[in-house]
């Protein structure tokens, strides 16, 4: 155990950094996608709602590992070879981030839709009755209330996405699992290595949960 930590500790911590970097990129774009698709699924336009529903169901219906292969290998192949345009290469970080963003974005969209729908329609009506346009009402009145109810689910989704980064070891991104595999290959100490890696995930996730609790407490109105 100490041998692993002494020799490979630095490497594993760096890999955890890569995992967090990947998760951060993924989550950032997932939030944007989730927001856009989530709002698309509550507007009055049937076309918007349809597109949102197709996106969500498509992503939810495909395993992320397939999505990862598809984006990393499939899309450049399609662009460069089938279309013959050429010049598209995706790094593992780029493909991984896109993959996480799409996957997590679809789930975020559902969380955001449910959050918006959980706010009493009277809130929107009152804002509209004062002359506020739909967007302003959404932004100033509905969304702030929706986000409050969404926080636990969003944190939960963040944690799932953080763990899902491990799936992206398949496209060769040097995140924690991928790096750990190399450590095991070099040392044959699989028990110790995977225990350490597990512990590292656990610590990060516990910290994240702790932060979420603090945030939740801060968001109480007039507390």
């Amino acid at each position: 155990m100490t041998r692993i930590i002494n020799t490979y500790g630095q490497l594993l911590v760096t890999a955890m950094g890569q995992t967090l970097l990947l998760a951060l990129y993924g989550l950032f774009f997932a939030c944007i996608i989730g927001m856009i698709v989530g709002i698309m699924s509550v507007v009055s336009s049937k076309v918007c709602r349809f597109i949102a529903a197709v996106f969500v169901n498509l992503i939810r219906g495909v395993p992320m590992i397939v999505l990862a292969y598809f984006i990393f290998f499939g899309v450049p192949y399609f662009w460069n070879t089938i279309l013959g345009i050429g010049g598209l290469t995706l790094t593992a970080l780029q493909a991984g981030s896109i993959c996480l963003a799409l996957n997590c974005g679809a789930y975020m969209a559902e969380i955001i839709r449910a959050g918006i729908e959980s706010v009493d329609v009277g809130q929107m009506e009152a804002a509209r009755s004062l002359g506020l346009p739909w967007w302003r009402s959404m932004y100033r009145v509905v969304m702030p209330q929706a986000i409050r109810t969404m926080i636990p689910s969003i944190i939960n989704q963040f944690i799932i996405t953080l763990k899902d980064t491990s799936i992206l070891s398949v496209i060769g991104f040097p995140e924690l699992v991928n790096t750990a595999k190399n450590v095991v290959a070099a040392t044959f100490m699989s028990f110790q290595t995977w225990a350490i890696v597990g512990l590292m995930y656990l610590i990060v996730i516990l910290l994240l949960q702790r932060a979420a609790k603090v945030l939740e407490g801060r968001l109480k109105y007039g507390a």
Binding site: D120, S129, G131, L132, P133, R136, R148
Partner: protein, 248 residues
């Protein structure tokens, strides 16, 4: 517009409203003059709320015409938000913005719509709070207020937009009996200072005291209308008689 027509604050003609197959408003025609207080009564499900909500297009009319202060709001080209700025609405369940304190509830629309700068809006809000007797609640959040207080804040919030018309949809129906009076007082005051009001209510005492005109609705139609004396003292339509017997 002719001078004479300007006196009409709300003009409704042959208004129809359906939800899918369900025809909720069948053929409503109605004029409300500036400064007039019109009270709408009728059994539950008769379309009172729907009528009121059509007047600021929270419900889109299916047919007919609604003209507010000279603007045809059933016209697709009309900017409904501009009209709504001048038509306040008070809801049965208050609908205060839960994520804001009282002061911010009142200031949101005037500031966000750039009708007032923050300081003016603040002063206006505090003035309105004083008018409804809640100066000490400026910093309170909705969940810290009683029902009666919430409804008075809701009225103050609408007044901050300096509306020409106020719509009330059963403003006291969700209140404990001891709080009804404080809300009605505020509404009476508004009526006395000349606000144009359409009030859906079951408070017959209020209707008698401040109503200029009472409409009785049933089944999506206005079955009878007249002064409070006429409607309460000598109702003509058997449905009106029947309804009044039940509620009085």
């Amino acid at each position: 517009m002719e001078r004479k027509e300007k006196k009409i604050a709300i003009h409704v003609s042959h208004l129809k409203k359906s939800f899918k197959q369900l025809e909720v408003l069948k053929d409503i025609s109605l004029d409300v003059k500036e400064g007039e207080v019109v009270v709408v009564i009728g059994p539950s499900g008769s379309g009172k709320s729907t009528l009121l909500r059509c007047l600021n297009q929270l419900e889109e009319a299916s047919g007919g015409e609604i003209v507010i202060d000279g603007t045809d709001i059933t016209d697709k080209k009309t900017d409904i938000n501009k009209v709504r700025e001048k038509v306040g609405m008070v809801f049965q369940h208050f609908n205060l913005f839960n994520n804001m304190n009282v002061l911010r509830n009142l200031m949101l629309a005037p500031v966000d719509l750039k009708i007032m700068d923050r300081e003016t809006a603040r002063k206006e809000a505090l003035k309105m709070l004083e008018r409804v007797g809640l100066s000490d609640k400026a910093e309170a959040y909705p969940h810290q207020l009683s029902g009666g207080q919430k409804q008075r804040v809701a009225i103050a919030r609408a007044l901050c937009m300096r509306p020409d018309i106020m719509l009330f949809d059963e403003p006291t129906s969700a209140l404990d009996p001891e709080m009804v009076g404080e809300v009605l007082e505020v509404m009476k005051h508004l009526a006395h200072v000349g606000m144009t009001m359409v009030v859906v209510t079951h408070e017959m005492g209020f209707a008698r005291e401040v109503g200029d005109r009472v409409l009785f609705m049933d089944g999506g139609l206005i079955l009878e209308e007249g002064t409070p004396e006429e409607i309460f003292g000598n109702p003509q339509n058997p449905r009106t008689k029947d309804f009044l017997n039940k509620v009085l």
